[in-house]
């Protein structure tokens, strides 16, 4: 039972981390197209399906 509590604590913490990341994303806002240089390397997008950015 203690193992379950530990796992819940850690998983809950990392869920809060994801929420913090979203909050920080909101702080910095969207891309300003006038600032961006179009000649860039390929980008991995954040999405629910590919949360870790591993290609393939």
């Amino acid at each position: 039972m203690a193992d379950v509590w530990v796992l819940l604590l850690v998983v809950g913490f990392f869920a809060v981390c994801v929420a913090l990341a979203r909050g920080c994303d909101r702080i910095i806002g969207g891309d300003d197209a006038s600032e961006l240089d179009e000649s860039q390397p390929p980008v991995a997008q954040a999405s629910e399906r590919e949360p870790t950015g591993v290609a393939g």
Partner: protein, 570 residues
């Protein structure tokens, strides 16, 4: 202070001054991806790892994907290390027949090593199997350090690039840091440590008979391989309970000097890496100067205070100064082979970085001497800081410094040609407030917990409170050094310290990467007459002032209840 103390300090400064720029240049080349003569050696290994993990090294990530990659990697690392401890009695390579580790202690230890803290609520030689130490803790000592350096690389790219969306690829940075920086240096350093007498074997306990007829259990184990990355990765977790005070981890004055150098070299070198990556070496020199001045101030303070000893003992006729009849001087809590100055220098260095290894017991220092490592951690470990995370902290404080300077003169602040605006300042504020918030909140809550007063605190009054402050400060800053004197292996302390370590690591990494993401998009503005130069002595003084003021405003009240009142009572 003795001539030997001065000689050790000067030799260390000269060695770092000569080698840090060279290592910094090499690391900059690793993150820059430029041509390298070692490509033939490392390239095939890296490509093998990328193929096995299905990573496309050409594909870069935005800051939020980078952050999620760090989190995902850390969750997996935690689960594996937790599981390994919980079932270690059934796993091989357990010559000392260690039992499975209890859940709360497994939680604390797994979090501790995944967050690069290496706080040890356990005694290594009597709790963990060789397999857990080697493939659990030591592996995390490599990859947690590499993750911190990867985040640093992302932040520097945020400052160096302009008009872009991406800050690098976490998996590539992680692999390159591990394979090209940490593994080769640690391998060589482990062999050097073995030559100085640090043990490296697969033995369990060896029973020996002492001259008085008693029997004694002498521990063995693969220690040198752990000791090298423990210092180079500013991890600090030792194979043995008493850490680098143990003669099998740090047997001689030479090993002590080399390990001290290993603690400091990468964090200092990263200042030069920064200068090269932003293509302005003067910026690197300025950052290095801030780190160095803070480290030197705290080192000299600890060395002088511990060489002086406790004035109360002087009045009782106890000899505390080094003399022919008392070669150890103030040896309270210290190993005779290191002495008070060698111990003080280590204490300041291990807390200025996020290392946390100890070669003496800080609990036995004078109140003022013990306050030095405590305050050094409270600065946020930026002098020179842990590998990667120390430079991150200093760059964020530098951004705060240009913001304050901008307020003073009424201009929009800039750092390296990037305008510092509301979003960046909000992220800096989150970064700076998280650590004191978690440390002070957990200290406040814990003072009401019955097990803390009944079991954990062994000393009453101001000294006991100092031990308590130290534990949470160490965990919240991912340092891992222990003041000693408290029983940390309780359900509450293990859990509360684990929470402090998690928040102190990931709640700082996320705004750091967000800052990188905000900065990387900005175009560079050309310097004008109103631009505040960030490579001058004035800027160095300003950053040092900001570091000191932020720490003083935050922590002075709690320090007044602990070491300050204890010193005044002498």
């Amino acid at each position: 202070m003795t001539a030997a103390g001065w000689a050790q300090l000067i030799a260390l400064i000269v060695l770092i001054g000569v080698t840090a720029p060279l290592l910094g240049r090499y690391i900059a080349n690793v993150y820059g991806g430029g041509p390298s003569r070692l490509e033939r050696v490392f390239g095939p290994v890296e490509r093998l790892v990328y193929r096995a993990c299905r990573v496309d090294p050409e594909r870069e990530q935005r800051w939020n994907v980078y952050a999620l990659s760090v989190l995902a990697f850390s969750v997996v690392g935690f689960l594996l290390l937790y599981l390994m401890q919980r079932v270690q009695s059934g796993l091989p390579f357990n010559p000392t027949n260690m039992a499975n580790v209890a859940p709360a202690l497994s939680l604390n230890t797994a979090v501790s090593f995944v967050t690069n803290t290496n706080w040890q609520s356990y005694a290594g030689e009597t709790t963990l199997s060789h397999l857990t130490q080697m493939t659990g803790l030591t592996v995390q000592q490599f990859v947690s350090a590499a993750a911190g350096m990867a985040v640093m690389a992302a932040l520097i790219r945020g400052l160096a690039r302009a008009g872009q969306r991406t800050v690098g690829n976490f998996w590539v940075d992680l692999v390159r840091t591990t394979i090209r920086i940490l593994l080769p240096i640690s391998f060589v350093f482990a062999i050097v440590l073995v030559a100085t007498g640090v043990i490296q074997n697969t033995h369990g306990f060896t029973e020996v008979h002492t001259v008085s007829g008693a029997t004694q259990q002498i521990p063995g184990g693969p220690n040198a391989s752990m000791e090298s990355i423990k210092q180079l990765g500013t991890n600090g977790g030792d194979f043995f309970n008493v850490n680098s005070a143990h003669p099998f981890s740090n047997p001689t004055k030479l090993s002590d000097f080399l390990e001290l150098y290993a603690i400091l070299i990468i964090p200092f070198a990263l200042a030069f890496t920064f200068g090269r990556m932003v293509k302005d070496k003067r910026q690197g020199y300025a950052v290095f100067t801030v780190m160095f001045m803070l480290w030197l101030t705290f080192s000299l303070s600890a060395m002088f205070l511990e060489a002086g000893g406790n004035p109360k003992l002087d009045t009782r006729g106890v000899a505390q100064t080094v003399s022919a009849s008392s070669p150890g001087g103030n040896a309270e809590g210290k190993e005779v082979r290191f002495g008070p100055t060698g111990s003080g220098l280590w204490a300041a260095s291990t807390t200025g970085t996020s290392n946390g290894s100890v070669n003496s017991m800080h609990d036995s220092y004078t109140p003022a001497g013990g306050m030095v490592p405590l305050v050094h951690m409270k600065l946020g470990e930026v002098s020179p800081g842990g590998v990667g995370v120390g430079l991150n902290g200093l760059l964020i404080l530098a951004i705060l410094a240009v913001f304050i300077a901008g307020l003073m003169v009424g201009r929009t602040p800039e750092y390296l040609g990037k305008k510092i605006q509301a979003a960046e300042v909000k992220l800096v504020a989150i970064y700076i407030l998280v650590m004191p918030a978690v440390v002070l909140t957990l200290i406040a809550i814990s003072t009401f917990v019955r097990s803390v007063s009944d079991i954990s605190l062994l000393n009453p009054g101001a000294h006991g409170f100092t031990e308590f402050i130290y534990a949470f400060t160490s965990a919240g800053n991912n340092n891992g050094s222990a003041f000693a004197g408290i029983t940390a292996n309780t359900a509450w302390m293990n859990t509360a310290l684990a929470v402090a370590m998690l928040v102190g690591r990931f709640f700082l990494i996320i705004p750091t990467l967000a800052l990188a993401g905000a900065l990387v998009r900005k175009r560079r503005v050309p310097p004008s007459a109103g631009t505040f130069p960030t490579h001058t002595p004035l800027f160095v003084v300003l950053v040092i002032g900001v570091v000191a003021i932020v720490a003083a405003l935050t922590f002075l009240p709690v320090l007044a209840l602990g070491p300050i009142v204890e010193q005044l009572k002498i």
